[in-house]
């Protein structure tokens, strides 16, 4: 069908549906008081055509967006695109009639911590006045190959939406699956209906907030917001032949293999390097370790996303010479060097922790990272060369629990990277204090393991040396009443042992005396920093690690005092959260111990009530006070 006619008919339909807007302007402002513009209707139509020249299936996206300006300012629209896509004609009309000019800007778009990518942003901007009725924006985008139509989010980057309609016209000749994610907490209706050329799948959402990534504990859009994955399986050519697109995991692998290109490497260049690196190593594991660590230390991770669809790695010797590379390039260099050393390393694809998919879903959206995999002596090694100072066998949180697709040339193997057991993340704090006036004064030692160590060391290494003490006081102790000095740490650049911090400490205003009674409060040891996170309009909380924290505080009872009352020993456990706290008098010493465990690194909305209960108990327990009195 003529695509212009489809658009016209669809726009007409859109206009007829205008009455669907349910809110008055005043109600809109009350509902989204922070918004300068509110989208009352956002309709998208996705259609597909077969391009006989390229033999690819092209995707057309047509948007019709009605925006109500709430304040004087600007109306903005954005499209993101890359080498596989283009943005077509876009128009803006006041009240759907009078054409308004827009300023158009196209720029490279490097996401956060990406050095360079071929992604571009196309921004449209126009002045808007609050007393204008509404603006109708119509825009088009096309994607040259359906494989690159991957994930689609329904919330808008810029404005809240009253009503969102997303229509997918699937022609009879195309087999396309659509997989839904994060629909549970949103007001959505899905319907299927026949259409003259096939079927239409329609998603209708109501009351969508704009995308917000600024919340404390936010990990990724994919863990929060409703979205779909397009899974184009196969299609009939104009001649009636059935052609596979990405029908299953095997097809996905074949596509990756095609993109991966030639993995050969120059042994003459890299061979002597490998020989030099491993010359002092006697065992195989030490040799593997030496190569892995050399790549981490001597090649800098610089995120390039310019290869074909971001999947084609640079040649190993290219990364060696340039001295930097992205995840694909660094994995390729590591792969080459390990193979030169006689270890049959493999390239493996995975979706890092910001994604929620596995390879049973055959889509290019499921993977965004490449590592090197090695099975040696029946042991699995997952080698992520992009993480500086990462020890062998200590997989970072960003890849734990993720499924990898390992390239065995003609075939692939799926394997899951094990999640760290909570016991591996143990953080132990031991403090010995004396009561001194209104303060507790003494020494503290903290040991970090696993992910707790990884996170701390990453932060510690990235701040200025001269700021490290201040960092410790502010971030680790996190209490304005505490003063630290004489801070000693174990070697910061070591990988294979625990990380330890020792320091002297004064906890001010922890002790108060009234007549012959003295009270000691240990509230300042409440160091779990996520207990103030706001769970409203939030769909997950990322904790960085499974938390396993133990503390032991010893306070000698001064000679002239004795215990009047100790707080009750308490334990609390719900779901993945647990807390145990005890107070004891042993001889002339008071010993307070507590253990906090959260056996999840990501807390999803369904666990929020447990999380809130846990936090309430946590706060209550830590206001307990030790009561002492004068002897005699």
């Amino acid at each position: 069908m003529n695509s212009r006619f489809v658009l016209l008919a669809w726009l007409l339909l859109s206009c007829l549906c205008l009455s669907a807007a349910q809110y008055s302007r005043k109600e809109l402002k009350e509902k989204w008081p922070e918004a300068n513009t509110i989208i009352r209707s956002y309709k998208t139509l996705i259609s597909f055509t077969r391009n006989p020249e390229t033999k690819l299936i092209e995707v057309y996206q047509q948007d019709s967006i009605e925006m109500i300006p709430v304040n004087d300012g600007y109306i903005e629209r954005v499209y993101f695109f890359d080498v596989n896509a283009s943005v077509g004609e876009c128009k803006l009309r006041l009240n759907g009639r009078n054409k308004r000019s827009m300023m158009k800007t196209i720029a490279n778009y490097d996401g956060e911590s990406v050095f360079h990518s071929d992604n571009k942003i196309c921004l449209f901007k126009a002045v808007s006045l609050a007393d204008d009725n509404y603006y109708l924006f119509t825009g088009e985008k096309s994607i040259q190959d359906i494989k690159f139509l991957t994930d689609v989010f329904f919330n808008d980057q810029l404005y809240p939406i009253v009503e969102r309609t997303y229509t997918i016209q699937i022609p009879e000749w195309l087999e396309l699956d659509i997989k839904e994610y994060n629909f549970d907490f949103f007001n959505v209706e899905k319907s299927d209906k026949n259409w003259e050329g096939g079927k239409q799948v329609i998603f209708k959402f109501a009351d969508l907030d704009q995308l917000n990534t600024d919340k404390k504990g936010f990990l990724s859009l994919h863990h929060s917001y409703p979205h779909i994955l397009f899974l184009p399986k196969s299609y009939n050519t104009v001649n009636g032949n059935r052609e596979s697109i990405i029908n299953d995991t095997r097809d996905l692998f074949d596509w990756y293999k095609k993109l991966l290109g030639d993995l050969t490497y120059n042994k003459e260049i890299l061979g002597p390097v490998v020989k030099e690196i491993t010359k002092d190593q006697t065992t195989d594991v030490d040799k593997i370790k030496a190569i892995y660590y050399w790549v981490q230390e001597h090649r800098r991770y610089v995120a390039f996303e310019e290869g074909l669809a971001g999947f084609r790695p640079e040649k190993a010797e290219g990364v060696y010479h340039k001295k930097y590379g992205d995840c694909k390039g660094m994995s390729n260099l590591l792969y080459a060097m390990l193979n030169i050393a006689g270890y049959h390393a493999k390239i493996a694809w995975l979706g890092a922790f910001n994604l929620r998919y596995n390879h049973a879903t055959p889509s290019l959206a499921v993977d965004n990272h490449v590592i090197c995999y090695l099975n040696f002596n029946h042991d699995d090694y997952f080698l992520d060369a992009t993480i500086k100072l990462n020890p062998l066998n200590n997989n970072p949180i960003s890849i734990q629990g993720k499924e990898i697709m390992i390239n065995y040339d003609s075939t692939f193997v799926l394997k899951k990277i094990p999640e760290k057991d909570i016991s591996e993340n143990l953080k132990i704090r031991k403090s010995f204090y004396n009561i001194s006036g209104t303060s507790l004064v003494g020494e503290t030692s903290i040991e970090y393991n696993g992910d707790s160590k990884n996170h701390l060391m990453y932060s510690f290494r990235s701040i200025k040396r001269s700021d490290r003490n201040e960092f410790l006081e502010k971030v680790i102790i996190g209490d304005e009443n505490t003063i630290c000095d004489s801070i000693q740490t174990s070697e910061i650049d070591q990988r294979d042992s625990i990380f330890k911090i020792d320091f002297n400490e004064e906890v001010k205003n922890a002790v108060v005396s009234f007549g012959n009674e003295t009270y000691v409060n240990l509230n300042s040891f409440n160091s779990f920093t996520m207990n103030d996170v706001d769970t409203t309009n939030c769909y997950h909380i990322f904790l960085n690690q499974k938390i396993n924290s133990q503390s032991e505080i010893t306070i000698p009872i001064p000679e002239d005092l004795e215990v009047l009352e100790l707080p009750e020993n308490t334990s609390y456990s719900v779901g993945a959260f647990s807390l145990v706290i005890s107070y004891q008098q042993i001889g002339n010493q008071l010993i307070c111990k507590h253990t906090v465990k959260i056996n999840k690194a990501i807390i999803y909305k369904e666990d929020f009530s447990d999380f809130v209960d846990f936090n309430n108990h946590f706060k209550k327990i830590f206001t307990a006070t030790i009561a002492l009195k004068n002897k005699g």
Binding site: P33, A107, H298, Y324, S462, R465, A624
Partner: protein
């Protein structure tokens, strides 16, 4: 007048400019690339060969071993072309990962050329080079060809730049890079380059640095070294014998320290520079003549220019094409009518002029088409106020003095160099010497910005419509009573001692008022007061050119509604940020006076809120930390002090907390409220008394002097400590009634 000095930190010169250029012209400059590279690297000073750093800086994040900055401006004879060249070269030893991350990527603009007239072009050629020196002496030059192209395409212009990754940087490496621009453009009779504030200290220590400036053909230099910085010395450059060259060298600079209440303009050795060009050595009267005397390099300024400048600005603002002409005319009409019906003194007329202009500006939002052309573009700031007031006073034949204040916070009077360092004010001469300087919806005619206090000012007397030659004066110091905060709070616990109900009355003046103005003030205040006041009536009857549309009225009503809602949020944020009071449930608030008029200049309001008690319960009593009720909070301060101390302002803060409904007999710990500290600059005093069923705690904090020497730091520490003790007073309250 330029409002700001561009404090151009030359270490960050690779930051992208947002000027719009097009027509990349990289092919025509190829030979120059090698020439510049030779000049920057091969001919560099021997300090650029050094690799070691002083032992005392071994624990720093990075150390700048050498830095060279060269700038030259020259005019081509018989042409309107001006050439401005800038060469920057730096060599840095990287000592931790933080420094490596900082230097691992660079972005830089591409060459550009644009047409600015029929046959005129503006052209900027840029050159960069990066090399890494390893601890073993290996030198690796970064291939600029590896840089990736980035663009921002607009409808008419394309902004292009490059981004390069510096490979293989490791702790212990030295990065040696240069960045140069050669800028050619056309000019008229006079051109001033942006003022430059070159600081000799930054976040990393500097072993050696050099600054060179060269001027030729009609170009001149103004320069002044401040805070003990070295001065430029004239020398003959063998490579550029036609130019008049100046240079300075500096060594062994520690990194700068970031301390609370410090003023880096007063501490960091720096040199102020401004280059300018004038055709045939002529500077016209007024603004341009501020650049006199026309020596090739001078550190003088010509304050005589201010008289003519003042005249010109008044002429300009009242001229036929001035967007503010309607504002000026309306004020004159109003004041003439006023002076006919009342026997006003000149001071009273000036006051009326101030309030009329203020109200005229701020009621613009209620019209469909503002009467001031620049309303949406401009701000009613002290510059606009000053020249409008001057024009009005001149028209009414009221003598006054146009003041050009050199704020102490930004520069010492003797170090004045840039025109933008002067801030305007008006002083009435015939009566009470009132200084009019502050513009704003909540400002009064006698309010004066804090940074004017005790400042030196140039005075241009305007008598009988004559603009006389300048003199100098020193503005009065503020009294701490001018900046006062008084808070009286009634406090009561709920029955279960879980929460506290607080009713507070705030009364604020001066700088203490400013912080709350932005919280409490809403546009409805102007609207309501405007309707009720003579200014509003006059503007409505005599000046309105277009009335507001009904639809706009509706919009404004909604806007006011939002403002009112936002005000609640702002109150909560202010209580949290300034008083440390969190988890507030605001029950009600009431503004008694917005302090916009001279008969009631204080902001007065009441808050009614509830907060959690966060008390520790112990059988039949609680331990209550009173810190959540006080507006006094201590800071975490270092024992050592590097720089002089500049507290925000002189001030007096008084607080009374009245605990209601407590049985004072059983309460323990009240004596801890009795604190006292007094020094020559600071004081704190608190005590308690029992009155019936109430316990009353009074506290007073006084800052007699806000500019302290670093030797006075112990005073600040002691003062801080006593406040810390006061804000952590805990009392034990019996919860079981006797």
């Amino acid at each position: 007048m330029m409002k700001f000095i561009n404090a151009l930190l030359l270490t960050t010169i690779c930051v992208l400019s947002h000027a719009q250029y097009d027509n990349n012209d990289s092919e025509s400059i190829d030979p120059r690339i090698e020439e510049v590279k030779q000049y920057m690297w091969s001919n560099a000073d021997s300090n650029f060969l050094k690799t070691d750093i002083p032992e005392k800086w071994k624990d720093e994040s990075a150390v700048i071993i050498a830095r060279n900055t060269e700038s030259s401006v020259r005019k081509r004879p018989l042409s309107s072309k001006l050439y401005e060249n800038f060469y920057f070269h730096e060599r840095i030893k990287l000592l931790d990962n933080n420094a490596i991350e900082k230097y691992t990527e660079f972005s830089f603009r591409e060459n550009s050329k644009r047409f600015v007239g029929l046959f005129k072009t503006e052209k900027v050629d840029r050159y960069v080079g990066f090399k890494i020196e390893k601890p073993n002496g290996d030198v690796e030059e970064v291939d600029i060809a590896e840089a990736v192209d980035k663009t921002i395409e607009g409808k008419r212009n394309t902004f292009s730049y490059k981004k390069i990754a510096i490979p293989n940087l490791q702790v212990g490496d030295i990065i040696d890079y240069y960045y140069c621009t050669e800028h050619m453009f056309h000019t008229g009779k006079f051109y001033e380059f942006s003022p430059v504030y070159y600081q000799f200290q930054e976040d990393y220590p500097i072993v050696w640095q050099k600054l060179k400036v060269a001027v030729l053909n009609g170009c001149y230099l103004k320069a002044r070294s401040v805070n003990g910085a070295p001065s430029l010395k004239s020398f003959t450059d063998p490579n550029d014998s036609e130019a008049i060259s100046y240079e300075l060298e500096d060594t062994d600079r520690d990194k700068l320290v970031h301390e609370e209440w410090s003023n880096l303009y007063k501490e960091i050795p720096a040199i102020k520079l401004q280059l300018f060009y004038t055709n045939s050595g002529i500077l016209s009267a007024g603004y341009e003549s501020f650049y006199k005397p026309l020596d090739k390099m001078t550190s003088e300024v010509n304050a005589d220019a201010l008289s003519e400048f003042t005249y010109q600005m008044i002429f300009k603002i009242t001229g036929s094409y001035s967007p503010y002409r309607s504002m000026y005319n309306s004020a004159i009409k109003f004041l003439k009518k006023k002076s006919k019906s009342n026997n006003y003194s000149q001071t009273e007329l000036a006051k009326e002029a101030y309030y009329f202009l203020r109200e005229f500006w701020y009621q613009q939002q209620f019209y469909a088409s503002p009467q001031i052309l620049g309303y949406y573009r401009d701000n009613f700031d002290s510059y606009l106020l000053n020249y409008l007031m001057s024009a009005v006073l001149l028209k009414l034949n009221i003598d006054f003095e146009a003041l050009y204040v050199i704020p102490n916070s930004f520069t010492n009077p003797e170090d004045l160099l840039f025109f933008g360092e002067l801030y305007p004010a008006i002083r009435l001469t015939k009566s009470d010497s009132t200084i009019i300087a502050a513009a704003g919806a909540t400002k009064n005619y006698f309010d004066m910005p804090n940074y004017y206090t005790g400042a030196t000012a140039f005075v241009v007397p305007v008598n009988n419509k004559n603009f006389n030659n300048f003199s100098k004066t020193v503005l009065p110091e503020y009294n701490l009573m001018d900046h006062k905060e008084m808070v009286v709070s009634e406090v009561s616990f709920n029955n279960s001692y879980d929460s506290i109900k607080v009713k507070s009355r705030f009364e604020l003046s001066g700088c203490e008022k400013i912080g709350w103005d932005s919280v409490m003030f809403v546009s409805d205040v102007i609207r309501n007061e405007f309707k009720a006041l003579v200014y509003g009536q006059f503007i409505k009857d005599k000046c309105v050119v277009s009335t507001i549309k009904v639809s706009k009225e509706k919009e404004l009503a909604e806007f006011r509604e939002k403002e009112a809602k936002d005000r609640k949020e702002k109150i909560l944020a202010k209580l949290k940020d300034s008083y440390g009071i969190t988890e507030v449930n605001l029950n009600d608030f009431n503004v008694i006076s917005y302090g916009r008029w001279d008969n009631e200049p204080n902001l007065i309001f009441e808050l009614d809120y509830t907060i959690p008690a966060n008390a520790q319960k112990l059988g039949g009593s609680i331990i209550f930390n009173t810190g959540s009720l006080t507006s006094f909070h201590s800071e975490k301060l270092d024992e050592k002090r590097e720089y002089d101390i500049y507290l925000p302002n002189r001030r007096l803060r008084e607080q009374r907390i009245i605990f209601k409904g407590l049985n004072s007999n059983g309460i323990a710990g009240l004596e801890e409220f009795n604190k006292a500290y007094q020094s020559k600059n600071l004081a704190f005093k608190s005590n308690y008394q029992i009155s019936g069923d109430s316990i009353i705690v009074d506290a007073t904090e006084s800052v007699f002097n806000n500019s302290l020497k670093k030797e006075d730091w112990t005073e600040v520490l002691d003062f801080n400590q006593i406040i810390d003790q006061y804000s952590h007073v805990k009392i034990k309250i019996p919860t079981i009634k006797e």
